[in-house]
Symmetry: C2
Subunit: 135 residues, 2 copies
């Protein structure tokens, strides 16, 4: 928790219980949870937590580079404690998102001369091993 507090201070953000809680949640739940999931989980032990706060906090933390978000499911934002570039696999069957390692990480390349790049993503969509077994 001390570390999160320091991160917030470095970014000029006030330390609040909510921000610490969300950072901790994402750090310990590397499952790319949706806002809804985060909300349900946190709310269960902290009923006064507001969903709007989660939206606000996710936006703030992301804007300051402390977390990242994914839009690969098409229906909701998914959150990620990791901010370094890495790749994902989205299983349509169980709705889970997995981190994947690729031999060839994504590189800008000459086709992007003149573009200012903020984010790089690559991902796969399909069915994960566990779901394949069930069928």
């Amino acid at each position: 928790m001390q570390f999160y507090q320091q991160q917030l201070k470095e970014k000029g953000l006030k330390t609040t219980y909510q921000r610490l809680k969300i950072l901790d949640y994402l750090d310990t739940h590397r499952t790319h949870p949706s806002v809804e999931i985060i909300y349900e989980d946190i709310k269960s032990e902290n009923p006064s937590f507001s969903k709007t706060t989660i939206y606000n906090t996710i936006e703030t933390l992301k804007a300051h580079g402390l977390i990242s978000t994914l839009t690969i499911t098409g229906s909701e934002v998914r959150c990620d404690y990791k901010t370094d570039m890495h790749h994902h696999f989205y299983c349509r069957s169980c709705n889970r998102i997995f981190d994947v390692d690729l031999e060839q990480p994504l590189q800008p390349g000459s086709g992007l001369q003149g573009y200012a790049i903020d984010e790089m993503h690559s991902y796969f969509i399909g069915t994960c091993p566990a779901c394949l077994k069930k069928k």
Copy 2:
């Protein structure tokens, strides 16, 4: 138009004015338009066209591999006539999506052993050259 009709037949889909129109629209508007944009444009010359039909048709055409869709903006589905794997750049400033060529096309790699892959995407987010100039 003859070609679209043949494509539909090959997939066992009925030929309808709406499907031909949407295929033609996407073929001639390689701008990754949203459903809303497609709707506005088509409706202007064909007021009876329904937005639901566009949603339905996009889904059907995609399911049969005749078009593809992107979810990279986070707020709406964007449509693409191209179905072969290629990469994208999303400009947050003008909301446009550009096709980009990369030296290294995305490859599954050993990190995805056991996964069944339906789609592969990679994309960049940032500011396009035109928007950079304006600032």
